[in-house]
């Protein structure tokens, strides 16, 4: 474990320490013992609840993300493989705006009103024709609302619309997607558990 006072080099993990200055562990291919020690320290810190922030590159831009776990076999930090900003944009695009729901409701109510009107008119016509016609037409007319209910359709174009991709509350696709980042080429900073303030 080295006590570095310079910047954080690739492969190095800087641990914020209380009294001795920031300590460092490094994944150095030329120093096997230091690498073994670094694996043990990183794994132990994650187990103790340390927040391990590592520098990753997404779309050519470097940013810091928190490592969820560490794979000792491959020396890779495990991070969530999704971009929170991109997920938020996709969630906004897939979410139905309120005006569409209002239009669907109005369309369904209009269709229901039309059916009611047509039924009422049919009954009225049947009553008017009762004076000189059979009652079978009335029974046949009454079956219409039931037939309409059985053939009720959804909103216009609803069957053709593809079901949106199911997402959980955080905007991620179903299932946990994680990826690994090599510890040998990544800068990291470890922050211990906090006591508030």
């Amino acid at each position: 474990m080295t006590d570095a006072t310079e910047g954080i080099a690739p492969g190095e993990c800087r641990i914020l320490n209380v009294g001795a200055g920031d300590l460092s562990v490094s994944f150095d291919k030329n120093n096997v013992s230091e690498t073994i020690r670094a694996r043990r320290v990183i794994k132990d810190m994650i187990r103790r609840g340390f927040a391990l922030l590592i520098e990753v590159e997404r779309d050519g831009e470097k940013r810091w993300e928190r490592a969820q776990d560490f794979d000792e076999a491959t020396d890779r930090y495990i991070i969530a493989d999704f971009d929170p900003e991109l997920a938020a944009v996709q969630d906004a695009q897939q979410a139905k705006p309120r005006v569409d729901l209002t239009e669907e409701y109005q369309a369904s109510m209009a269709a229901l009103n039309d059916r009611r009107t047509s039924t009422r008119m049919a009954i009225q016509q049947a009553k008017e024709s009762e004076e000189g016609t059979d009652t079978d037409e009335q029974g046949g007319e009454r079956a219409e609302p039931a037939a309409d209910t059985g053939e009720k359709e959804g909103p216009e174009g609803g069957a053709e619309q593809a079901a949106p991709q199911r997402r959980n509350k955080r905007g991620r696709p179903p299932g946990k997607r994680l990826s690994g980042v090599s510890a040998h080429a990544t800068r990291a900073v470890a922050v211990g558990r906090s006591a508030g303030g």
Binding site: D3, T5, E6, G7, I8, R14, I15, L16, N17, V18, G19, A20, G21, D22, L23, V41, D44, M45, R48, G49, F50, A51, L53, I54, R63, W64, E65, R66, P84, E85, V189, A190, V191, G192, R193, S194, A195, G196, G197
Partner: protein
């Protein structure tokens, strides 16, 4: 065994055979390293109450060190012990709330004789916390602070580092949330965001977070001030949700916010 050269009065203390805070800090770090505590071991101070994070592994060892300082009046507790001790003074809390009229926190409690008492904790300014923070400087080492500043220098652009050195604070805006953070030395981090209706910037809250532990009633943490700033900065960059979850959120009008 040759000692490293110590600055100023510490060298005289060594020559005279007196133990200094630097010696104690070094000893504590050796204990922490032997026990595999990667975050180190905080230093109990006389007349300061050290609050440790609940799962700190070396709490018993810190209490053992504290027993040495009992005569000096230092006090070390875990957060649960701190809350339990406060509660033991009363028969039970009834209520506590902030009074804008008195700019104070009103506390109401039951007493053992069945009566209800109330009191005011003045909060007009943060002078008490600021003065108490001055007394915590013995917990830190100059070399440690300088090393932390070098670390910060590599994490922020040069003009931001200059801003921090000159003013003790700097700004950074999160791309995820749009919140602008004002990172300050020995003060909670201020979260600012533009109001949706007016577009004016408004203060959301102050975020107070100290890894390992802090000294109650002060703005001082167990780590050197710049290490606390680095912790805030890295958490805001890497896991903003965790930053807000772990930090205590103080309203801007409270003295704990340090505004």
């Amino acid at each position: 065994m040759p000692r490293e050269p110590l600055p100023w009065g510490d060298l005289r203390a060594v020559k005279e055979g007196r133990v200094t805070w630097t010696d104690v800090r070094r000893g504590l770090q050796q204990v922490a390293a032997a026990h595999g505590s990667w975050a180190g071991m905080p230093l109990p101070l006389a007349d300061q109450q050290l609050i440790l994070e609940p799962k700190y592994p070396l709490a018993k060892e810190v209490l053992a060190v504290n027993s040495v300082f009992n005569a000096l009046g230092s006090d070390v507790q875990t957060r649960e012990e701190h809350e339990a001790r406060e509660e033991a003074k009363f028969a039970g809390w009834r209520n506590r709330f902030w009074s804008f009229r008195y700019s104070s926190e009103i506390i109401i409690w039951n007493t053992t004789d069945g009566k209800i008492q109330w009191g005011k904790v003045p909060g007009v300014h943060s002078g008490t916390q600021q003065l108490a923070t001055l007394g915590c400087h013995d917990a830190w080492d100059l070399a440690t602070e300088e090393a932390a500043m070098q670390t910060l220098k590599r994490l922020v652009p040069p003009h931001i580092y200059k801003m921090y050195v000159m003013t003790g604070q700097f700004l950074e805006t999160s791309k995820r949330s749009g919140v602008t953070y004002v990172f300050r030395r020995l003060r909670p981090t201020i979260a600012i965001k533009a109001d949706k209706r007016t577009g004016n910037m408004r203060i959301l809250c102050s975020l107070c977070l100290h890894p390992v532990g802090y000294y109650a009633g002060t703005y001082a943490g167990a780590m050197v001030p710049t290490d606390d700033v680095i912790a805030h900065l890295m958490l805001s960059r890497g896991d903003e949700r965790l930053f807000w979850a772990r930090a205590n959120q103080h309203a801007p009008y409270r003295p704990e916010a340090g505004i």
